[in-house]
């Protein structure tokens, strides 16, 4: 199966990791950065710590799909010739005004075709007090996949990683990281149907 060995990469909503924010960064600008479109930016991009105490390898995202990683991870990814990402320089100022230079911005430049939800299985799951329909399985069109280890399906901010890329992240603390095989990704039908 062509989707075996691919994972949807995500972070968990947990409070302990440091959360950073740049109030001047719009959602659109954050998306440009997360896709590696750097032409209208001056680096480093400044972020301030707004909450959290723990400097985890992957910080809580400042915007949907925009990740700040430890430079060490990026170096490791590069060392293992993982394809499909880029990084940009960030400057993080903590709540005491001290600068942390250990992190960088993480951009996903690998691409695949659109997600084909028709390939997903429709299931029912408990939501709150009742039951809701879910799409099980996240299957992008791989005909136009650029064979990157880290990529995004067209028209989405989801991040998909190969087994090889995942193994790099596995070496780090994964408190707030979530890798779900594409077969096991479940999305509420109202999310998919409104696309």
């Amino acid at each position: 199966m062509k989707y075996n060995g691919f994972y949807k990469f995500d972070t968990r909503f947990v409070k302990s990791p440091i959360t950073v924010k740049n109030d001047n960064l719009t959602f659109e600008q954050a998306n440009m950065l997360s896709r590696g479109d750097y032409k209208s930016f001056q680096f480093p991009i400044n972020f301030n710590v707004i909450s959290g105490k723990k400097w985890l390898p992957v910080l809580n995202p400042p915007s949907v799909g925009l990740y700040i990683l430890k430079k060490d991870i990026v170096e490791n990814l590069e060392a293992h010739q993982i394809k499909g990402f880029a990084s940009f320089e960030v400057l993080i100022v903590d709540q005491n005004g001290e600068v942390n230079n250990d992190y960088c911005g993480f951009s996903i430049i690998g691409k695949s075709g659109k997600i084909e939800f028709t390939k997903s299985q429709i299931i029912e799951k408990k939501t709150g007090e009742g039951y809701s329909k879910y799409y099980r399985g996240l299957f992008p069109n791989m005909d136009t996949w650029d064979h990157s280890d880290i990529f995004r399906p067209v028209d989405s901010l989801f991040v998909i990683m190969s087994e090889k890329a995942k193994k790099i992240f596995d070496k780090y603390e994964k408190t707030n990281l979530d890798f779900v095989t594409l077969n096991d990704v479940e999305l509420m039908s109202i999310i998919v149907d409104s696309v």
Partner: protein, 488 residues
């Protein structure tokens, strides 16, 4: 009590026949009459009629008074302690009526109606003209007797216990209660007439049911008589009259119907009777309407308005069932109170259960209810919100919705997680605006918050170019998945 003998032996047959013929000539040939709804009652759309029987009569005062039997196709009976529809139906079977045509000294005719409502245990022979008539009441008769105009307006009434008058009353004409719209809509309404009690007359002596109006009494004791057509009971045809129940009979176990016991009134308190009537309704539609009518008349007009607005908003069958439950809950909570506090803390619990977390309610109706409650609860208040911030969110949501439920958390419909802030802000949405707030029961909120935020992340990841309208539409959909009402 002295029973007076019929006076037919006082006149000869020729004079008798002539007296009847004269009266009939004056009265006219028509024998059956439709009663206009404003004077009579409607029974589920059926017209009330009465029929005069000219071959069943009695003559009094040497032919000056003709008494005829009259029957109605259906008729109400005054509720005087009956607790079931069966009892009312039995009472209705024993009712009998008379037409009195009287010629005065000037030779002018007048006509009245006499209506007899014997108690259930009264013998059927009481309906005989020879037993009870214009001239006297039988010693075995117990129940009500009413004197009415031909147009069905009460003139006087008497409560009789074994031939003795224990109470006499007359209508207070200046303040008769109008039949409410809801009652009229039921086409099955009890009839109300406010009467004032006067001292029993003729007690202990020979009783004559005379047509003289009572003397004016100072500060008479006034209250309502409620009459009810047992054939129009909402349970008729669906289980029989025996299903009419009144678990809380007046006077503690029905003692209120005992006549002549030193000042105790045999007629139930108006309030109790109204509640008894409502409690006995089986049909859920009729019951809701009757409960709303009650609430409207007890200071709950805003609530009634709210429910009516909700009902007009296009609710489905299942929603109606839930709305009925809500109305019943509020009715039970508020009944007996004349100054209602629909939006009091005790009612907020009911409202919360119904509008905010009721899984059986469609999301459209749930939202509509929440919006209506919030609007009514805050109407007319000069609300000054605190600045829209996370720390002020609960206070502002309380102001916005008029409630501050103890077991619920203030929920940001648009998550305040910093990850989403630039997305929502970019679409012109201030997530701390209380209009984007909801009350979510604490346990459920805590259990579902993670999945809720994850749903937003996934949706945004697939809809980065969404418009504000699309975002709001998704918010409604997502909240409905969790059964939570929103104001948007």
């Amino acid at each position: 009590m002295t029973e007076e003998s019929p006076s037919t032996d006082m006149v000869n047959e020729v004079e008798t026949d002539q007296a009847v013929e004269d009266a009939r000539a004056w009265f006219g040939p028509q024998e059956e009459f439709e009663i206009p709804p404003k004077n009579g009652i409607n029974s589920k759309g059926k017209t009330q009629t009465k029929k005069v029987f000219w071959d069943d009569y009695m003559i009094h005062k040497g032919g000056a008074v003709i008494e005829l039997k009259v029957s109605y196709n259906f008729h109400t009976v005054p509720i005087t302690g009956e607790k079931t529809a069966l009892e009312l139906a039995e009472k209705a079977e024993k009712v009998f009526h008379r037409l009195i045509i009287e010629k005065d000294d000037k030779g002018e005719y007048v006509k009245y109606l006499l209506k007899y409502f014997p108690k259930n245990d009264t013998d059927a022979s009481q309906a005989n003209l020879e037993t009870n008539n214009f001239q006297g009441v039988d010693a075995w008769y117990s129940g009500e007797i009413q004197l009415l105009t031909w147009e069905e307006e009460l003139l006087k009434g008497w409560t009789i216990a074994e031939g003795e008058i224990t109470r006499a009353y007359f209508p207070r004409r200046t303040s008769q209660k109008p039949v409410s719209d809801v009652q009229a809509a039921l086409n099955c309404q009890p009839s109300y007439i406010e009467i004032c009690e006067v001292n029993p007359v003729g007690s202990g002596s020979g009783v004559r049911i005379n047509v003289d109006l009572p003397e004016v009494v100072v500060e008479p004791h006034c209250y309502d008589i409620i009459s009810y057509d047992p054939n129009c009971s909402p349970d008729t045809g669906s289980g029989g009259p025996g299903t009419y129940t009144n678990p809380t009979g007046p006077g503690g176990g029905g003692g209120g119907s005992s006549p002549g016991t030193g000042g105790s009134t045999p007629v139930l308190d108006d309030e109790q009777l109204w509640q008894q009537y409502i409690d006995g309704i089986i049909d859920p539609e009729l019951k809701r309407q009757a409960q709303l009518d009650y609430l409207e008349n007890h200071g709950g007009a805003e609530f009634v308005e709210l429910i009516n607005e909700l009902m007009a908003s296009g609710v489905d069958h299942y929603d109606v069932m839930e709305i009925n439950k809500l109305v019943n809950g509020v009715y039970l909570e508020q009944k007996g109170r004349f100054i209602m506090a629909i939006f009091s803390p005790e009612n907020v619990g009911t409202i919360l259960t119904f509008a905010l977390t009721n899984p059986n309610l469609s999301s459209i109706t749930r939202n509509k209810t929440f919006q209506l409650f919030s609007r009514y609860a805050t109407e007319g208040k000069n609300i000054v919100y605190k600045s829209f911030s996370s720390s002020n969110f609960r206070a502002n949501l309380t102001l916005k919705t008029g409630m501050n439920p103890a077991n619920a958390q203030e929920h940001h419909v648009f998550p305040q997680t910093s990850e989403f802030s630039s997305f929502f802000a970019g679409k012109g949405i201030n997530v701390h605006n209380p209009v984007y707030g909801a009350w979510w029961s604490t346990t459920s909120h805590q259990a579902n918050a993670y999945a809720y935020n994850m749903a937003w992340r996934n949706w945004i990841a697939l809809n980065e170019g969404a418009s504000q309208a699309q975002i709001i539409a998704f918010a409604r959909q997502l909240m409905s998945q969790y059964g939570i009402a929103v104001l948007i």
